[in-house]
C-alpha cells in the first residue's frame, strides 16, 4: 500500500524542462519525491528509467517511467483530477495550447543561444528571440482575448502552456541581470509578462521558484563556460 500512487521526479534544478513538470505537480497538489541528478554522473536508476535518452525529467509513477516533459504533463493531467485541468476539454483549445507549448521549444533554443554567445552571434540570437516572442504574444492574445485573468481566476484555470512559459521565462530577472538586457518586457510583450506575474503569485508556484541569487550565479557560470569553450 505504501507503493500505491508513489510519485518520483528525477531532475536537475537548472532545467526548465524539469521545472515544467515540477510546476504541474505542484499546481495540482500532487505529493512527490524529488531526486536531484548530477548529469555528469547519472544515477543507475535514471539510466534504468530512461535508457533511451538518459535525460531528465523522468516521472516514475507506481514504478512505471514516463519521459519527455510535455508527455509527462499530459499524463499527469489525465491521471490526477485534483487542481486545475491543464488541458481544457475543448479539442480546439487543446490544439492551440499544444501548438504553442511545442513552439516554446524554438523560443527556448533561441534564448539559450543568447546566453551562450556574444557580439554579432548574440545580436542575431536576440533578434530571433524577439521575433519568436512576438509571435508567442500574438498566440496568447488569441488564447486570452480579454487579457490575463486575475490571480484568483488564473489559479483555477492554469494550463500546460502557462507552466511552460513560466518554466522558461520565470527567471527573467536573473536573465536580465546576467545579460544586461531584457528578453521580455511589459511594453513589447505585455501578455507574456502579465502571464508570468500572475502565475508567480499562485502559492504553489511561488514556493517552487529558485532564489534569484542562485539562478544568477548559475547563469553566469553557464555563460562563462559556453564562451570559454567557444574560443578554445
Amino acid at each position: 500500500m505504501a507503493e500505491q500512487n508513489k510519485v518520483i521526479l528525477y531532475g536537475t534544478w537548472t532545467s526548465p524542462y524539469v521545472k515544467r513538470v515540477e510546476l504541474a505537480l505542484k499546481v495540482k497538489g500532487i505529493r512527490y519525491e524529488y531526486v536531484e541528478e548530477d548529469l555528469r554522473n547519472k544515477s543507475p536508476l535514471l539510466l534504468t528509467f530512461n535508457p533511451i535518452h538518459k535525460k531528465v525529467p523522468v516521472l516514475v509513477h507506481n514504478g512505471k517511467a514516463i519521459v519527455e516533459s510535455l508527455v509527462i504533463i499530459e499524463y499527469i493531467d489525465e491521471t490526477w483530477k485534483t487542481g486545475p485541468q491543464l488541458l481544457p476539454e475543448d479539442p480546439y483549445k487543446r490544439s492551440q495550447i499544444r501548438f504553442w507549448a511545442s513552439y516554446m521549444q524554438q523560443v527556448s533554443e533561441a534564448m539559450v543561444l543568447v546566453i551562450k554567445t556574444i557580439g554579432e552571434a548574440q545580436e542575431k540570437a536576440i533578434k530571433e528571440v524577439s521575433e519568436k516572442v512576438k509571435l508567442l504574444e500574438a498566440g496568447l492574445k488569441g488564447l486570452f482575448p480579454d487579457g490575463i485573468p486575475s490571480v484568483h481566476e488564473y489559479s483555477k484555470n492554469v494550463t500546460l502552456l502557462d507552466l511552460v512559459i513560466l518554466a522558461h521565462f520565470g527567471g527573467y530577472e536573473a536573465q536580465e541581470e546576467v545579460l544586461g538586457l531584457k528578453l521580455i518586457d511589459s511594453e513589447k510583450t505585455p501578455l507574456v509578462v502579465s502571464c508570468i506575474t500572475a502565475l508567480i503569485e499562485i502559492p504553489a508556484v511561488k514556493e517552487s521558484l529558485n532564489p534569484l541569487e542562485k539562478v544568477v550565479a548559475f547563469l553566469k557560470f553557464f555563460r562563462e563556460n559556453a564562451l570559454k569553450s567557444a574560443t578554445a
Partner: protein
C-alpha cells in the same frame, strides 16, 4: 457537420499522416494542394506562424503541426481510436512520436544531405532505427498492437514508403530486412493497410522529386568547394 479542409503538399509525408487519420475515422474533407514555392494567401492566413503544411481547417478554425493535428483528430472524432486508453500506454505512444521528431527526423536529414558521407550517415540512421525496432516495436506487428495501427504507425509512415525512394536516390540502403528484420516487416505490413495502400503519392513522381532535391544539394556542395 462542419466543413473540414486540409491544406497539403503532395510529396509531404507529414500531410499523409493527416490524410490517413481522417480516412481511418471516416471524416470527409476537402484537400487543397499548396505550392510551397509560392504560398497562397489562404495558407499564410491559416498558418501565419510556421507558414507550412499540413494545416487542418475545421469549421473555419485552423490547426497546424501534424502531431498536434493528429491529437485533435483523435479527440474530435473518437471512433476507431488511434491512441491507447491507458494513460501510461498513451504516454509511451506520445514518447515515440516525439522520438520521431527529436531523433529520426534529424537522422534522415543528415542522411539525405550527406555528400561523400552517405555510408556513415546511413549507419547512424540505422542505429536510431534499431532503437525504434527493439524498444518501440518489439514483437508486435504494428506499433499500435498486433491487429491495429495507431498514431505511432501513422507518424512513422514515412519510413515505410518515402524512405525507399530516398534510399534509391542517396544510393545507400538503411531499412534492410537483414539488419532491421522486424521494422522491415512492419514497413511491408503497414503499406498493405487499405487506408495507407490507397493513399500514397505516386512513386515515380516522388522519386523524381527527391532526385531533383538531391541534385540541387550536390550542386550547392560542389560549387562551394
Amino acid at each position: 457537420m462542419e466543413e473540414v479542409k486540409l491544406l497539403g503538399f503532395w510529396p509531404s509525408s507529414f500531410v499523409y499522416r493527416v490524410i490517413w487519420a481522417l480516412k481511418l475515422k471516416g471524416v470527409k474533407f476537402d484537400y487543397i494542394e499548396e505550392d510551397l514555392s509560392n504560398k497562397s494567401e489562404l495558407l499564410l492566413q491559416y498558418n501565419p506562424v510556421r507558414k507550412n503544411v499540413p494545416v487542418l481547417v475545421h469549421g473555419g478554425k485552423s490547426i497546424a503541426e501534424s502531431l498536434v493535428i493528429l491529437e485533435y483528430i483523435e479527440e474530435t472524432w473518437p471512433q476507431n481510436p488511434l491512441l491507447p486508453k491507458d494513460p501510461h500506454e498513451k504516454a509511451l505512444a506520445r514518447f515515440w512520436m516525439q522520438f520521431g521528431v527529436d531523433k529520426i527526423r534529424p537522422a534522415i536529414f543528415a542522411y539525405f544531405r550527406a555528400i561523400g558521407e552517405e555510408g556513415e550517415k546511413a549507419k547512424e540512421f540505422q542505429e536510431v532505427l534499431k532503437i525504434v525496432e527493439k524498444q518501440g516495436l518489439g514483437d508486435q506487428k504494428f506499433f499500435g498492437g498486433d491487429n491495429t495501427i495507431g498514431l505511432v504507425d501513422i507518424a512513422f509512415g514515412m519510413l515505410a514508403y518515402w524512405l525507399e525512394c530516398i534510399e534509391e536516390v542517396v544510393g545507400v540502403k538503411v531499412l534492410e530486412a537483414s539488419s532491421l528484420p522486424r521494422l522491415h516487416a512492419w514497413a511491408q505490413n503497414f503499406k498493405q493497410v487499405p487506408v495507407v495502400k490507397d493513399n500514397l503519392p505516386d512513386r515515380g513522381k516522388l522519386l523524381a522529386h527527391y532526385k531533383h532535391s538531391r541534385e540541387k544539394l550536390i550542386l550547392a556542395a560542389s560549387s562551394s568547394q
